[in-house]
């Protein structure tokens, strides 16, 4: 265990000092976007990976967080550092509201319901023009700092959120709640019959799973300085969360991290090197299909099973 701790510590130190040793701002920029996707993936992992409820609409939480920050900052001049967690809370609140009708649904029904809700939110954002600015989107004021400072601040905000998400997942896994969630995933009826309050547990998982993507949604809005419904409610965001997590290993702490790190990098490289329309997403979906068919437990699961490498 101590060796693991050293690795984790070293990694954390490295990530903290990256902005100072990075030769170019772009790499910091790249990392912060990677963190963003990792947080969404790790958030998804709590409800999808641990509990077995595949949400196909996680972009809804991201978008809600983004709009919370955009509206409060642009229209009311609230400090973004307050709106980031608020966006998470709004996302969690939304999860709470939709949890009641959707968490009763099994398997693919839950997937369809969440997918549809994310579509519905996008349509609402497009048409509630007085609040959301409609199709014209919302413009946030440029951050008051110079470009270097701004990106550093965004970077650390993303990093802190990532650390919080991973820590939450880690603690969850060790706790009775995590155990209960896994029971639900493996056999919900059995879980209920041994006295687990499945409804309560599922709500906890769903709320946590919505909170973190909501927070990064807000940070993203502040970073992008402009958001519109098709960007922040993009179904691809949900899909990336699912594929990244499954690739790394659903229901593991490190799975979403490893998955996002590798696939996000691959995606980016594909984008720079091959510019034939459609090719990059072809490769991306082919990888996903391969994982589902041949590696259902993802990288972490495979490493655990075949190579006896212990990863949390």
């Amino acid at each position: 265990m101590s060796r693991n701790k050293i690795i984790v510590l070293a990694l954390m130190v490295l990530l903290v000092i990256v902005p100072f040793i990075s030769p170019e701002l772009f790499y910091v920029d790249f990392l912060l976007l990677m963190f963003m996707y990792t947080v969404i993936a790790a958030g998804w992992n709590i409800i999808g990976g641990y509990t077995g409820y595949y949400s196909f609409g996680h972009t809804a939480f991201f978008g809600l967080g983004a709009y919370t920050t955009a509206i409060l900052v642009a229209k009311y001049g609230v400090s973004p550092f307050i709106t980031f967690p608020l966006g998470g809370l709004v996302a969690a609140l939304f999860a709470f509201v939709i949890g009641y009708p959707t968490l009763r649904l099994k398997g693919a029904y839950f997937a369809i319901a969440t997918l549809s809700l994310s579509f519905a939110l996008q349509i609402l954002a497009l048409n509630l023009t007085p609040i959301t600015g409609g199709g014209e989107g919302l413009t946030l004021p440029l951050p008051p700092w110079d470009i270097h400072t701004t990106i550093m601040i965004i970077y650390y905000m993303m990093l802190i959120t990532l650390a919080a998400t991973v820590a939450t997942t880690y603690l969850l896994e060790k706790s009775r709640i995590g155990l209960a969630l896994k029971c639900i995933r493996d056999d919900e009826i059995a879980a209920e019959s041994v006295g687990i309050n499945t409804t309560m547990m599922k709500f906890i998982a769903f709320l946590l799973s919505a909170f973190f993507p909501g927070v990064v949604g807000g940070i993203f809005a502040y970073y992008a300085t402009y958001i519109d419904p098709p960007t922040v409610f993009d179904p691809r965001i949900s899909m990336f969360a699912i594929v990244f997590t499954m690739f790394g290993g659903a229901g593991t702490v490190t799975g979403p991290i490893i998955g996002s790190a590798i696939l996000f990098t691959v995606d980016l490289l594909a984008r720079y090197t091959i510019t034939i329309p459609g090719f990059d997403l072809m490769v991306f979906s082919a990888i996903a299909i391969t994982i589902i068919l041949f590696m259902p437990h993802g990288l972490v699961g495979t490493l655990r099973e075949k190579f006896k490498i212990k990863l949390p």
């Binding site: 409609g134 440029l142 519109d228 090197t273 099973e305």
Partner: protein, 409 residues
């Protein structure tokens, strides 16, 4: 699950994936570290939507940029240095595009920047280029919102804003004798940044001419049935129908009008009628439909003939307006750099703002906010051809006006 074969397969797959990643990374490293020797080229960077929803349009800009770079390198380059283009694919995604401009500026050290395509992407990207005080000349995003933020380093080569799209149409209406002029207008548009801007502009123009807007209503971009909306329009029987459309909904408008067997005196739609596919999809039914064209190969501007000919020789097809605007963006940068004799971004910006620049899309004179107000050409489909109606000095035919009130089919 635990059979030997399966674990072997899995090991193989993992190995394969890792190898692919390593090769990709190595390729990328090689790709980025390769620097040309000799005279250091001037790096001109841009991202374009080569994949994703605007994939096809992005390709036109790419050809325009490439042709400009080719011409400039054939004639001795800029400031005696060759020009090197770096174009990335932004997947039609504003976030990706903004991130890539960050890369162009900080990693690739681009000396000059050209723009991406579509208003939403330009909007996102310009907040990056503005932060770095980098001039960006773009021909792909002309929503007023982009230019109403007080930014100083962004310039447009589309010869007008989305708000100006209907200018030609209203010039045409104004050119009619007063007793023949239409009196009432209905405006419909998709609920999206660009079509909204068109509608807002049209309302302003209509007010100026004293025309009455009897209906203004929006519809979702991916609308599947326009009958309910167009029935409403038909019941009001306006003289003019203006549609802030994209391609699919423009086609749908024409088809639905025919199905309702009704036609106002003027039907003006955006984007769709400017494309050759409009006729291919609608055939005869496209006759008489008016649209905007930011540029035509027959446009009367300086250098158009040479541009069209060279484009044809190089790529084997006629350029469209996207390609022309892209080429013009290069021309604007070229003119400014040559005039100020350096790559100083502030000087370049000042020069562009204070001079009239001859380009293939017309003489561009910029407002303080960074856009020209030339306005597009007004075109009308007549028997498979786009005929230029307005401005009069560029006209290639006479307008069919008014359109027959029914389709007779």
């Amino acid at each position: 699950m635990s059979s030997k074969d399966k674990s072997k397969t899995q090991l193989l797959i993992i190995t394969a994936i890792i190898i692919v990643i390593i090769i990709a990374a190595a390729g990328y490293y090689y790709y980025t570290t390769q620097k040309a020797g000799g005279t250091k080229p001037i790096i001109v960077g841009a991202t374009l939507s080569l994949t994703g929803k605007y994939g096809r349009t992005g390709e036109w800009y790419k050809l325009g940029y490439e042709l400009w770079a080719k011409h400039i390198n054939e004639t001795g380059g800029l400031l005696g240095r060759p020009v090197k283009l770096i174009i990335y694919d932004d997947q039609s995604d504003p976030t990706t595009a903004a991130n890539l401009y960050e890369k162009l500026i900080t990693v690739d050290k681009a000396d000059l920047l050209l723009g991406p395509y579509s208003s939403a992407i330009v909007f996102a990207v310009s907040s990056v280029t503005e932060k770095y005080h980098k001039v960006m000349v773009e021909g792909g995003g002309n929503a007023l919102k982009i230019f109403s933020r007080g930014y100083k380093y962004i310039f447009l080569t589309l010869p007008g804003l989305a708000e100006n799209i209907t200018k030609g149409l209203f010039d045409f209406i104004a050119s009619l004798p007063p007793d023949e002029r239409p009196k009432t207008i209905a405006i419909i548009n998709a609920n999206d940044l660009f079509p909204k801007a068109i509608a807002n502009g049209a309302i302003q123009y209509a007010k100026k001419l004293g025309l009455q807007v009897v209906l203004h209503e929006e519809y979702p971009k991916d609308v599947k049935d326009l009958t309910p909306l167009l029935t409403k329009v038909k019941n009001l029987n306006p003289d003019v129908l203006i549609g802030g459309t994209y391609f699919p909904d423009a086609v749908l408008v024409v088809r639905t009008l025919k199905q309702l067997n009704w036609r106002p005196k003027i039907v003006f739609l955006t984007v769709g009628p400017a494309m050759p596919e409009f006729w291919e999809t609608l055939g005869e039914d496209a006759n008489g439909i008016m649209g905007e064209s930011w540029w035509e190969p027959s446009a009367p501007w300086k250098g158009v003939k040479e541009f069209v000919q060279s484009f044809k020789e190089t790529f084997g097809k006629d350029p469209d307006y996207h390609a022309a605007c892209a080429y013009a963006a290069g021309q604007v940068l070229e003119a400014a750099v040559k005039a100020v004799g350096s790559l100083d971004q502030d000087k370049i910006a000042d020069w562009i703002r204070t001079h009239t620049i001859e380009t293939v899309v017309g003489p561009l004179k910029y407002t303080e906010a960074g856009y020209p107000t030339l306005g597009p050409l007004l075109i009308q489909w007549q028997n498979g051809k786009r005929v230029i109606i307005m401005p009069e000095n560029a006209a290639t035919g006479k307008a069919i006006y008014p359109l027959p009130p029914t389709w007779g089919g």
